[in-house]
Symmetry: C2
Subunit: 157 residues, 2 copies
DNA sequence: CGGATTTAGTTTCATTTGTAACCAATGGCA
DNA sequence: TGCCATTGGTTACAAATGAAACTAAATCCG
């Protein structure tokens, strides 16, 4: 077979434009959003994103173990361990030995943690609302559904 | 989209469900996709994501300076500096003093870099295609447009 | 010109993050 | 029982990342 021209004449399949490449775009979008939110929480509450996630999940589901928190937040267990340690030492979360398993710990928000949760939840909702203000209601629903599908697809990449 | 039943005492505005929180979902999606792709490139080509981005952008736009690369890839200049250093020492990129500015460098792919680019581009396109296989053509277009809008919105968060 | 200011890129140092090894409690199961 | 593989969680170490200080070249402007 005849060799193709060296630098020109790329076939469409080979044309990679970073700015249009979905994984790249997702990364940029996620970073922009996360950074905006993270700096806000860091300044106001001295809270990192992993800590924030743990507060959020314990707020709705008290008594989870570290492992369950890891599953619920999709963080790995080391990250959870570290964030929990900080939260415990800040008296925002209490860790009690689990009834049925001496290794596991039952994690719950302390009163302080509850108070914090009550303050951050509305802010989170508000941030999301501000971002989504760029879309109509129908578009939001569409987007949400599409993200769901992609999340599932991405699981088995 | 389903209406939330008010079964807890909390008002809707305060109800934060991590799994449905868009910034969280975006982060998870982006991570899954990036991780899948990154491990593949790491194994096959010994290439990190920042390096990969630089190769991608120089492939289409040779002669950019580090600063321009930073802008094009949305990475900060430190990250670019480090990745470029690795690429240069691996002889994948060459950095020549810029004609008009002695501080700047003109970055181009070497022959090796070109060859690498020619190999990774189709793989990238293919990965993206596999992910997007979960969506119909119309949905892809929709999604893409929505991401564009959110990217713009996220810029001024 | 020539000093002050800005800009391109690098280096340094502190933090964060990821991987693997580790410890201790548990659950099989012979 | 008692041994061994498994599991929940932590620790240790290495690599990646980010912020700020730094070098050197360019620009501004008297």
């Amino acid at each position: 077979m005849r060799a193709e021209a060296k630098t020109t004449g790329k076939s469409p399949a080979d044309l990679l434009v970073l700015e249009r490449f979905l994984p790249y775009r997702l990364s940029i979008l996620s970073n922009r959003v996360s950074r905006a939110i993270a700096t806000r929480y860091a300044k106001t509450f001295n809270l990192t994103i992993p800590e924030w996630r743990i507060i959020a999940v314990l707020g709705r589901r008290p008594g989870l173990t570290a492992k369950e928190v890891a599953e619920a937040t999709e963080m790995d267990k080391v990250a959870v361990s570290r964030a929990v340690a900080k939260l415990v030492s800040a008296k925002r979360v209490s860790a009690d030995v689990h009834d049925a398993d001496g290794r596991a710990q039952s994690l719950t928000l302390t009163a302080q943690g509850e108070a914090l949760h009550a303050r951050i939840a509305p802010i989170a909702i508000e941030s999301e609302r501000r971002l989504l203000a760029a879309l109509s209601m129908t578009e939001r629903a569409q987007f949400d559904a599409l993200i769901d599908r992609l999340l599932a697809a991405a699981r088995q990449l």
